[in-house]
Structure formats: C-alpha cells, structure tokens
C-alpha cells in the first residue's frame, strides 16, 4: 500500500531523511519510531505530498507522490504534528469544511461528521469554538479530521500526544479498529504504544532506517536470545563471578547491573533454547555463592530502542561495564 524507495530529503544542505526504503502492506499498522529529529515528520510529509522528495520514490496506493499527488491525496488522511485547526470555527463547522475539502458529497456530509464526532469522542464539544478547546480535545478533532473521508491510508504524526491516559487507550483502540480496512502509519516516541498497536515497527535514527520488522522479531533478533538475571551475595567478587559466568559455553554476554540491596546482579545472555540456564545454576551452587534470585528478564522496548538508535551516552557505559566484567 505504501512503498518508499531510496527516499532522501534535504533541507538546504541538512539531510533530514537519508536514503530510506520500506514497504507497508494493506491493512497493517506500522509504527514509526525514532528519537527527536530522526526524520519521522519529514518522511510523513513526503508521503502526504506536502514536501517533495529530493531523491527517490514514494508510492501510496500505487500512485507516485510526485507524479499523481491528487490521487494520493484523495486516498490519504493525515494528522500532522500540530493539528491543523482554525480557532475561529466550531468543531462541527470545521469538520464539515474538511469533509468538503476531501470531496465528501454534501448528501452524506452531515452523517460523516456525526460519525467521526462519535468515534473520536468530540460529540460533546460539537458546537464549541475550537479556540476554546483543551489540547487533548484539539488532538481528537485533529484525528476526526484525518479519518472523515474514510481514507485507505492514514498517516498519523504522534496521534496520542497530549491525550489523557483514558483517551490514549481509546485512541489506540480506535486505531486498531481502523486497521484492516485502512493502512495506518503512525509515529511516536512512546514505545509501549508500538508494542500495543503496531504489527510492524520501523525504527529510524538520524534519517536512516535502523530496523524494520515485527516487534517480537525485533527484540529477538536484537539480542538474539533470552537473558537471565542472577542475584547473589556481595561477599563474592563481582568481577570474578562475571568472569566465571562468561566461561560457560553458550553464554553470549555478561552484563553487570546496579547492585540491589547490596547484592550483586548480573545479567547473562544466551541463545534461546540452549541449556545454559542449568549450567549457570550449577556453577553458582558448586561455587558456594549465596544465591538470592535467578529470573528471566524480558527486553524492554526502551532498551531495544536505545541499542538500535545507539545513543552513545546510554549504551556505552553498559557495554564498557560488560567488557570490564568479562575480563
């Protein structure tokens, strides 16, 4: 439904999006993830024909954004980073204006406006001036505006920003509801959002795609594996313990963590399905270390994200500590 090939966008000399390619199948929800300034908004603006690409191609529903922008625009609903609202208009009036702009015939316009008002929970402010709405309500009106013409493709730039927790959940549900008939691409910094609503994740950093995959594949591929955290008494020298763990065949990495209640914690990573766990347990028992706990640790999306986008300040200390610990 969406195909991007070698897309590059330069602002003056600054490269905002650098040769990215990805594809989104019909009916999928795709999360667009990346730190500030990664180029998410820029990519979305190219997809919605607001900005032309400097190089490369982008296709939406089989139409090229440069060659047939009108066809693309007919099929796309777009919620920009700041909802594009006219403060002087009433909510209903605004939605009717957008509806006509998107080419909804006047016979069905009133019905569509009511429908999206219900769907986006703005029915109670229909007659209010947009200038008088709170930020969250504006965001909802922005969302209503994006779906009013029932577009094939929805491009949502941080759709849940500024919403209260209840509304965030409702919006995610709404987005999941919309999937199937609609292809949705949404950007966010909230990692759990991707986890809950997206089937596929595209992580970009500094204008480049660093990973595109399903969420669970991504976590697995990244660390290749599972990990266990072992917690033992501080009487054991941590470095020595880490070294011994590292010698167990099959262990791919040993990462010392923050001590807890004065007890050492190390995380041991291994390929999934290997019998390393039993080996670790045996080592601890045979060495007579006081074991307090041994548990599986899941990889949080935050970690995945930081590793992939490789912000040096965050990842480097862990890596350095791991090397130190393994010696």
């Amino acid at each position: 439904m969406i195909r991007v090939q070698g897309l590059t966008k330069r602002y003056a000399r600054h490269v905002a999006v650098d040769n990215i390619s990805f594809e989104v199948q019909k009916g999928q929800i795709v999360g667009f993830l990346g730190p500030n300034g990664a180029g998410k908004t820029t990519t979305m603006r190219v997809l919605t024909c607001f900005l032309p690409p400097s190089e490369g191609k982008a296709e939406v529903a089989g139409f090229d954004v440069v060659e047939q922008p009108l066809e693309v625009k007919k099929r796309i609903g777009y919620l920009p980073e700041t909802p594009p609202l006219y403060p002087d208009m009433e909510v209903e009036e605004y939605l009717a204006f957008v509806g006509r702009l998107k080419g909804i015939p006047s016979a069905s316009l009133a019905r569509r406006v009511s429908e999206v008002c219900e769907r986006c929970a703005v029915a109670d402010v229909r007659k209010k001036l947009i200038a008088k709405l709170s930020k969250g309500y504006r965001q909802r009106v922005g969302l209503a505006q994006a779906i009013i013409h029932n577009p094939d493709v929805l491009v949502l730039d941080e759709p849940t920003s500024g919403l209260d927790p209840k509304q965030i959940i409702e919006t995610r549900e709404l987005i999941r509801d919309l999937a199937g008939d609609h292809t949705i691409i949404l950007s966010t910094h909230i990692l759990s959002e991707v986890e809950t609503s997206c089937q596929q994740v595209i992580i970009i950093n500094k204008g480049r795609v660093v990973a595109t995959d399903s969420f669970s594949n991504l976590t697995n591929r990244l660390r290749g594996a599972e990990a266990i955290a072992v917690e033992f008494a501080s009487s054991v020298p941590a470095a020595e313990a880490a070294g011994r763990f590292g010698q167990i065949p099959g262990v791919s990495r040993v990462v010392p963590r923050e001590p807890r209640h004065d007890r050492h914690v190390v995380e041991i990573e291994m390929p999934s399905g290997s019998g390393v766990r039993a080996e670790v347990a045996r080592l601890v028992v045979n060495s007579g270390w006081e074991l307090y706990e041994m548990r599986s640790v899941g990889f949080s999306l935050e970690e995945v994200f930081l590793q992939l986008t490789g912000s040096p300040e965050q990842v480097a200390p862990v890596a350095a500590a791991a090397e130190g610990g393994a010696q």
Partner: protein
C-alpha cells in the same frame, strides 16, 4: 469549482467571525464619512459663495464632490488592502493549517482563487459603504450616476489588482506583520510611481508612470472606461494570482 466555493465560504466566514471585517468596515466608514462630509460641506459653502458673487454657472456635484471622493476612496483602499491580505497565507503557514490545505485533494489554484475572491468580496463590501454615502447625494443635487458607477468599478478593479499583489506577498512569510508591511510598501510605491511624470518627460518616466495604479484609476473617476486601464488591472490580477499559485507550489520545495 466546489473546492473554490468551499474555500471561499470558509474565508468569508473567517473574515466575519473575527473582528477584522468589522474593524475594516468601521475604519472605512469613518474615514470615508469624514471625507464625504468635508467634500459636501465644501461644496455647499462654495455654492453659496458663487451664488453671492453672481456667477450663473451652476456647480456640478460630479466634479466637485464625487470625483474627489472616489480618489479619496482609492487612497483609503491602499491602506486597507494590506490589512485584508496580510493573514491570507501567512496565518495558515504559521498555524500549520496550510498542511491541511496542501495535503487535501485540492489544486493550488483553487485555494488561491477561493481566497482571492473572498478578499475581493470583503473589499466590495467596503466600497458598498462608500456607495451608500454617495447615494445620499441625491438629496443635494442630481448627480450623474454613470460616473459614480464607473468610478466604483474602477475602485473594484484597482482593489483586485492590489489584493492579488497582497496575496502573493502573504505566501512568502509566516509573519502577518511582515506580510502587511511589505504589501503596504508595494501599494504605496505603485501609488507614487506616477509622481515621476510630474518632472520627467522621458520615455522611461512614462513607462514607470504607466505602472502606477492611480494613473489608471483617473479615467474611471471621470466616468471613462478605457480598455487599456481595464487590461492593466486585469493583467495585475492575473499575474498576481499566477505567481501566488507558483509561490504556493514552491513553498513545498523551499520549506
């Protein structure tokens, strides 16, 4: 066509939902009312004097009241047009609503024409105020109505030309004040261009003075419709809007 109407309606509502339209109407009514009052008062006093001095030639309302009034209205228009056009695109760019317009299945020229027509209609409403004043002249004498109508037509054309220029300037910035200021400067320049003809007779001076909007308004205020003046204004409107559309397109390439 539907898109033009939709944009047009939204703009008109926008003007009348905010204080702008009312402010402009009040401003224009006040200034024009004052000019009207002084022109009529002057006319009355002069009339009495000339009667006392025994001149038999009756003074003509058209020459003494209407023509100067129309010229005044054209000058007031110069000041008001930047206020009408300054937010046209600058505000959409500032608030981000331009992103909605440019990502909707609407052609750029439809946006431009819709907005331009709305501004033009607002300007016509202002002129209607002056029209009402002038209609009151029926109490004072029997003016010849044709020059009045032709004069108003001239004002409308002149307004259209300046609005098109204002629209163009409004696409170049996201700051309303800058858009308004620059439009005002250009309007003023187009107005004073014919001053060179006062002291220079060379060909270049004629050419420069030809560009002056006021120069082309003069015949209208005398009740004369000259094709060359109509062509001048129509050209300005056309090129103004053409460039506005191009500028809107290139906004995407530059931003």
């Amino acid at each position: 066509m539907n898109n033009i109407i939709n944009i047009f309606q939204k703009e008109i509502k926008g003007y009348f939902a905010s204080p702008i339209a009312y402010f402009l109407l009040a401003f224009f009514a006040l200034l024009f009312g004052y000019f009207f009052y002084s022109a009529v008062a002057f006319f009355t006093v002069q009339g009495i004097q000339s009667q006392m001095m025994g001149r038999s030639m009756p003074m003509d309302v058209n020459d003494w009241v209407i023509r100067p009034l129309l010229s005044n209205a054209s000058v007031i228009g110069l000041f008001l047009i930047p206020l009408i056009t300054m937010r046209m695109f600058a505000e959409e760019k500032r608030s981000g609503t331009i992103e909605l317009l440019l990502t909707s299945p609407v052609r750029d020229y439809e946006i431009v024409i819709g907005k331009f027509l709305a501004a033009w209609v607002l300007y016509a409403c202002l002129l209607a105020v002056s029209g009402l004043n002038i209609a009151a002249l029926a109490f004072f004498g029997q003016p010849d109505w044709k020059p009045v109508l032709v004069g108003l037509l001239g004002l409308l054309l002149q307004g259209g030309a300046l609005l098109a220029i204002g629209a163009l300037i409004s696409t170049t910035t996201r700051n309303q004040i800058i858009a308004g200021g620059a439009t005002f400067a250009i309007c003023l320049l187009l107005w004073v261009l014919d001053w060179v003809s006062a002291y220079e007779q060379a060909a270049w001076a004629k050419a420069v003075s030809y560009l002056s909007v006021v120069q082309h308004f003069e015949p209208f205020s005398k009740g004369v419709i000259d094709t060359k003046d109509v062509v001048y204004y129509a050209t300005l409107v056309f090129f103004g809007l053409f460039l506005t559309t191009r500028s809107l397109e290139s906004l995407r390439w530059r931003s």
